[in-house]
Amino acid sequence: MSTPATRRAFWQGLRDGAPFLLVVGPFALLFGVAATAAGLDIVETMAMTALVVAGASQFTALTLMQEQAPTLIVIFTALAVNMRMALYSASLAPYLGQARLGTRALAAYFLVDGAYTLSAAKYEREEMTLSARLAYFFAAVLPMALCWYALTWVGAVTGQAIPESWPLDFALPITFIAIVAPMLRRLPHLVAAFVSINVTLALSWMPYSLGLIVAAFLAMAAGAMVEAWQERQG
């Protein structure tokens, strides 16, 4: 298990995941504050944070519950926000599919945006053994997850979020653009990103985050077509 390559992947995962603490931390504090302000007690707040581990959908559920929406609507709307994660799951299957079922289940529980994007980019870039891939993924995600639990709790107990005058809203765009940017040196990825951005913005009127899903499928198809075209060109 602990070959030099696996150990190296572990340290790389820790290092690459570190910037995401700036994304996760403020978001977790804010969720803790918002959940208790909305009337959830500390046990309910922490149960949601630990069982769902998907901030945007947790905020969606919270907002809809405050608006007294029917329970089924709350559940389906919040789940719709997470549909993109089925694509993450499919995307990692060719890389992690040989892991044991329990390991795959654990990876699925931790399949958050940041760790997914880091890992998918890394696996495409480098030949790695299965154990090195797993070491990278879990090393990247564990600090994020611990930060998510811990700072939700701090937010819930203290009621203190980070002042809005700090532009931490932009930590998320900055980190995700930074991971994707090197991939855009290749034409199919550049085309996929172009389609993704334009279609998502054009379809921002669609409910249930559907615009993003439609855009993702069109962008994947566009990337795949450009790749196939490039192969034919030799």
Binding site: I75, E124, F176, T200
Partner: protein, 110 residues
């Protein structure tokens, strides 16, 4: 706010449902071979989802009430340029954060 029973139903359903979504393909496909066209499409998931996820936050930031903000647009462009040029995560993040901090301090805000 909802009553405790409703809150716990939402927590349980959202937790189970989210896990099911995340486990779906990882769990069911496992190490079975996927068709070539599927593998080809799946290679583009990161560049098909992340730019779309981030684009509204860059173009219509909530911090400015949804109005496009020059500081944030320029910072995003700097991250993109530094990331593509260096292929390194940390320099790109640092350059973007520094640009945003500087521009927000210098530019007149609305």
């Amino acid at each position: 706010m909802s009553d405790p029973v409703t809150i716990w139903i939402v927590i349980a359903a959202l937790g189970l449902g989210t896990f099911a979504i995340r486990f779906s393909f990882l769990g069911l496909i496992g190490d079975r071979e996927l068709p070539r066209w599927a593998l080809r499409m799946l290679r583009y998931v990161p560049t098909a989802v992340m730019p779309g996820l981030v684009a509204p936050l860059v173009v219509w930031p909530a911090a400015t009430g949804g109005e496009p903000d020059p500081a944030r647009l320029i910072a995003a462009a700097v991250v993109l340029a530094v990331g593509a040029a260096t292929r390194q995560l940390l320099p790109a993040v640092a350059a973007g954060a520094a640009t945003l901090g500087l521009l927000l301090a210098v530019l007149p805000s609305a």
